[in-house]
């Protein structure tokens, strides 16, 4: 059974008189427990697709199902991690992670056993994310990488079936990002959740994904889907393997072809001649 099913999804944005077709006729099935990454040139609609799956925006035509039920609004079965500014600065790390527990969606039929299990889970998630030492700190006291780990722990707190991530490591430096990659792979396998991960970093998309969905702009659409020919358990050394480099080259080439942006070498040459004259 598939965890997420998008059928002929289109999204039209209206901005005054201008109309932008952000997504046209996108169909995609994502299996239970699969890690799918979305890449593509800017304006290809990868974030739009993610927001539609989350239920944060309404689609224009088509249908999206998550866990067999149509997506009509945001729901606790589909947690989302944003690039930044999503932590609650007035809550400590621990209370950020436990945020969802106070919401009525999770308190309706709760027993005291559940409450105890929940605080155990919060501690376990903090430990897993290497945040046990800073449980009482405020988000503003943490580094960017640590803040994103808190955001992930908070999203996992309610055991969502689906984890949606919108360039979650986009604001981190390269070293921190590498550490986060192995962490997120490990955690998601442990939790058994289905992941849809948006990024503009092709290396990241291949390293993390079971499949890479390559999207193209104007109008936003799926260009091609690539199954990553690497073993399930990824290691840093694989980034230098022939399979990795080959897929990387093909995807980058395709992004360049579809982006519509070309470096005009002739024009550059002319300009530099003009400047030196």
């Amino acid at each position: 059974m598939s965890a997420i099913r998008c059928r002929e999804v289109s999204k039209l944005f209206r901005d005054g008189r201008a109309r932008v077709l952000a997504l046209e006729n996108v169909s995609l099935e994502i299996g239970e427990g699969e890690f799918v990454t979305l890449v593509g040139a800017s304006g290809c609609g990868k974030s739009t697709l993610l927001r539609l799956i989350a239920g944060l925006d309404e689609l224009t035509t088509g249908e999206i199902e998550a866990g067999g039920a149509p997506v009509l609004s945001p729901g606790a079965d589909r947690a989302m991690v944003f690039q930044n500014y999503s932590l609650y600065p007035w809550l400590t790390v621990m209370r950020n992670v436990k945020f969802a527990r106070q919401l009525s969606a999770h308190t309706r039929d709760r027993t005291s056993v559940d409450v105890e299990a929940a605080s155990g889970r919060a501690e376990a998630l903090l430990g897993l994310m290497g945040l046990a030492q800073v449980a009482r700190a405020y988000p503003s006291q943490l580094s960017g990488g640590m803040q994103q780990r808190v955001a992930i722990a908070r999203a996992l707190m309610t055991r969502p079936h689906i984890l949606l991530m919108d360039e979650p490591f986009g604001a981190l430096d390269a070293q921190t990002r590498e550490v986060m990659h192995d962490l997120i792979l490990h955690v998601c396998r442990l939790e058994g959740c289905t992941v849809v991960f948006v990024t503009h970093d092709v290396d990241e998309a291949i390293y993390l994904g079971d499949r890479v969905v390559l999207m193209a702009p104007r109008p936003g659409r799926i260009d091609s889907i690539h199954t990553v020919p690497l073993p399930l358990r990824r290691t840093l050394a694989m980034k230098h393997s022939a399979e990795f480099l080959d897929l990387r080259a093909r995807i980058l080439e395709r992004i360049r072809e579809t982006s519509g942006l070309r470096t005009d070498l002739e024009l550059l040459e002319k300009l530099s001649k003009y400047a030196s004259a």
């Binding site: 609004s73 944003f82 690039q83 969802a100 969606a105 006291q141 309610t158």
Partner: protein
Amino acid sequence: MWKVRGWLSRRSYWTLAAAGLALPLALWATLTAIGSVNRVFLPSPYDVIHRIATWFRDDELLADVGISCFRVIAGWALSALVALPLGLFIGTFRVVQALLEPLTDFIRYMPAVAFIPLVMLWIGIDEGAKVGIIFIGTFFQMVLMVAEDVRRVPMAQIEVAQTLGASRSEVIDEVIIPSAKPALLDTLRITMGWAWTYLVVAELVAANSGLGYAIIKAQRFLQTDKIFAGILLIGAIGLLMDQGFRLLHRLAFPYVYVRS
């Protein structure tokens, strides 16, 4: 020293702040001491202090301060009572914004002073009228500032709550309000200052007590020292209240001030 947005030690900050306050005072004292200015135009600091002392001893200064504080705080509090929920709704729902914001912008530009005859007609000439003028002067600015504070809550904070299963009322109670709180307290602090600036205007309306009234009466008798005394007292009370708000801000929102 002149580095853009540079750092300054606490000690240097307060030394400079004290100098900033003392310098005009010294200038004022010298100017009057050498007798180059007529005392009717510019009384000496000593005259003003003396006036405050006699005002306190013979003229019920504390009663004037008390009634003025009451009027300002009542007008301001009443305006906060309405502006906070209304601003929250304007900043949260586009429908309410469309309905009320242009209207508020329109009224905001009308001079509060011009409402005096109407206020007298509608409310009368007792305490209610003075509070009413201060309310009119503060309320319309306050609503817009509250709405802006609410709109500044990052969308990501709201959307995260939604994807965690929060209902609409939970988004408002658990995210928007706590997230906007520090900015809201700042807005209350700033509008308190504006409420004070409307005091003199408010006490034009059939008052027989208060700092603003005292200033108006002193003008009639050309008691420049008393005008100075009244203005300086209002300034001092305002400064005190402002510092009180800042202290409250530090106590209520410690997370704004923590650094790694």
